[in-house]
Amino acid sequence: MWSRLAGVRASARSFGRRIEARALALAAVATSLILLVVFYYPVATVFADAVFVDGRPTVEPIVSVLTSRFYLVDIFGFTAYQALLSTIASVLLGLPGAWVLARFEFPGRETLRSLTILPFVMPSIMVAIGFVATFGRTGTLNAVLRAIGLPPVELLFTIEAIVIAHAFYNAPLVARVTTAAWESVDASAVETARSLGASPTRAFRDVVLPQLLPAVAIGATLTFVFTFASFPIVLALGGFQLATVEVFIYSRIQNLAYAEAAALAVVETAISIGLTYWYLRYEGRNRGSGQGARPQPRRSLWPEAWTPSALGVRIGIGAYGVVVLAVFVGPIASMVLASLTGPEGGLTLEHYLFLLERQQTGASYQVRPLPAITNSLRFGIGTLLVAVPMGVAVAVLTTREFPGRAAVDALAMAPLAVSGIVVGLGLLRGLVFGVEAFGTRVQVTGALAVVAAHAVGAYPFVTRNVAPLLGNLDPRLVESARSLGATRVRALVDVELPLVAAGVVAGAAFAFAISIGEFDSTVVLAEGSTSYTMPVAVERYLGRRLGPATAMGCVLLAVTSLSFVIIERFGGRYGGRGGF
């Protein structure tokens, strides 16, 4: 009896082991399949327009872009220039945040860390509204400057406005990725260096910094790729004289001039992927041998003794706090205020009442708030569940050494580098219209397709958050687990992932955020059906008065804030206990 039970157990165990041994390969195959169906094939249908005209192969569209002084110098040149400035601004604004979050202890630190990702999900129209209210001629900033006797500034419709808005979106990204790396630095390495006589500065430079640099670099790379393909915010806050390449891609697609649109998109993508590839080669060369997992103790934000250096540090943090108030809190607070302001400037709840009323009396063909919230959450959770395993699998596979690793890795990052407008058109052609097969039309739409599309856009974040940390781990950790009989997956789940939990959680939060904020693919795949999301509702409620749209925007912020806090708490437990 007992022995039979034990036998059943043993065979179940061995079956489990067989699956386990294949799990990584399965995840890789699944990832490739998803990528093929919801990314490579759809995008190929658009890119084909750049190299086939009337069914004949041609290089003409791409050559005409590459030989056009206007496109090459004026547009691509300017696009790269603003992306570079935006990247510098995002890094400068993000790094102090990472330092404060990783190295100081204060009440609400974890919640604050969860909320740093909020700007990431703000619909661009909301950012535009918040920026006009904050940095506009009659905005908050000028009111403050006037109050303290300084001359007003004119920021809107300049390149500065674009750069600040891009920093608003991307500094949190830099901060998050760097914080995750900082929290994965092994304290014992620092202590060893200190006990061998290194000064705190020296220990930081030789031990901590090498582990942070890949994270800072990836934050910068991602920021550059994003801002290189930035679209609505550029025209909303800068104006057409500051148009980027994406503006022209949009314009050509609107006019159905596909060859030119595709040629521009191909060049844009090539630049982005080239840059990513270049970064990845650098990341591959920086392999550490850390043990991870025991972060250094944090200092209290309120020092025990007010020494001059402690005072200097606190003044610096205070100054940084003021900048954060202006750039991040200002625009978000302005939007909240706008949602509570009536037509004549008094406080009112009418815009929220509009949402309630629309919920209760809205027709089936109208966008209602509650379905928008539940759809967003469903897609977000679905994306998280699909993108995290995808991202981790790709991270594990690409931290191994093999020829062409960086190229494979760069291709896996492609979803970040392709214009959202192009992806949207590709999804429409490839999935919504489907393909004719055996006399029936095979189409892929609805919730599953949306989740798959979101996951494709989100998993690179998981990969990029996890890969540098995995690369920093001492390979012997896995080797010893394997020699004790663990499968590769078991070693990953029990040994490696807990050590890089900070990165996994940050990646998961990003995956969720990407899904919540995604617009282009969602409207295509959910076209005409009832699976609209919160950003779609914000867009729909835009009218002559901003109230309803900003109220919906605030609902979006509230729902996502709560989600992020929950994701981080849950994820923190996983990291803290070394497993579920």
């Binding site: 025209l235 909303a236 314009s251 397709a449 409620y541």
Partner: protein
Amino acid sequence: MKRRTFVRTVGAGGIVGLAGCVGGGGGDGDSGSTADTATEADGDATGTTTGTPGSEPPELVVSTYGAFVDAPSTSPGPWLKETFESEFDATVTFATPDSEINYYIERALQGVDIESDVYVGLNVDMLIRIDERLDDGLFTAVDDIGGRGDVKEGLNFDPEGRIVPYDTSYVSIVYNETMSEDGDFVAPETFEELLEPEFEGDLLTQNPTGSATGKSFLLHTVDAKGPDGYLDYWEDLQANDVRVLSDWSTSYNAFLEEEAPMVVSYSTDQVYANREGQDLAKHQIRFLNDEGYAYPEGMSIFEGTDRPELAREFLEFMLRPDVQGEIAQRNVAFPATTTAELPGDFAEYAQAPPEAVTFTYDELRDNVSEWTQAWERQFASK
């Protein structure tokens, strides 16, 4: 320990399963039924999936832009649906694809069936795109529907008679007269005056590709300065710091926030301002050169409709005097017909220009892409 293994493996299996579904299209929206619910109809088929054929009113799918059915202020869609259904034996279903007419052009290009019967919200730009890209123009001729003769002659923009206008707007300058040192801002009266230094940085307009108002304003300058002169005019405008923003919402919000005293918008602006009890001094209308650019919207019937009779009835309904009056008020635009029934105070806040300007279909078909792209190149290269 063991539980975790189990969870992990199921997790991986789940993903493979999902990939399988996605890869195969898993019957999602591939029901082979008449209405392709996943993409076309409103998805929420309002529970009318059962019952015997014939016992149900026939369905008329009306495609339009989002704001026509879903604007936060008022939109004509719901009223039209309710009224039409109460008078005719039919169910109106709205479809609002995000890329509007391009969605249907794309479907036609890829050889995919179009499951819609009527399109409401066509403009001349869209028509030109249809004719440029498709050999057989997507829509049928509707010149002989009842009430067609009541449409104001100047609004017709399709020489082939496929499109019937149902309302029109005029694009003009809206300005805020409280915005100046002495609280008395006066907008310029002509295009020429707009270039004067006192109006530096005072005008907000929109991307011609991304917005109807921006496109109309650009075309108005082409009309005023000629195809050979409009680029020079824009060079001067740019030197005078005109702001070309992404879309109407963004620019109008900046105008409300008093970022600039003038914005390119619609001449019916005061209808809203009055409705919301706003200060009309902040919503003054100026027709440059005493002209406004006409922006008529039209409707038509898809060639592939399987309910041509019902579709014609819907178009005739849209032109009826009482319905024309309702559309005008709910869409805050001018009716397209001479016979519309409007309340007496409508004209008080809805201002029409002394002279309406517009280009013909033929003039635009040959030039509009070129005009727009030349403008883009000049304006964007700083």
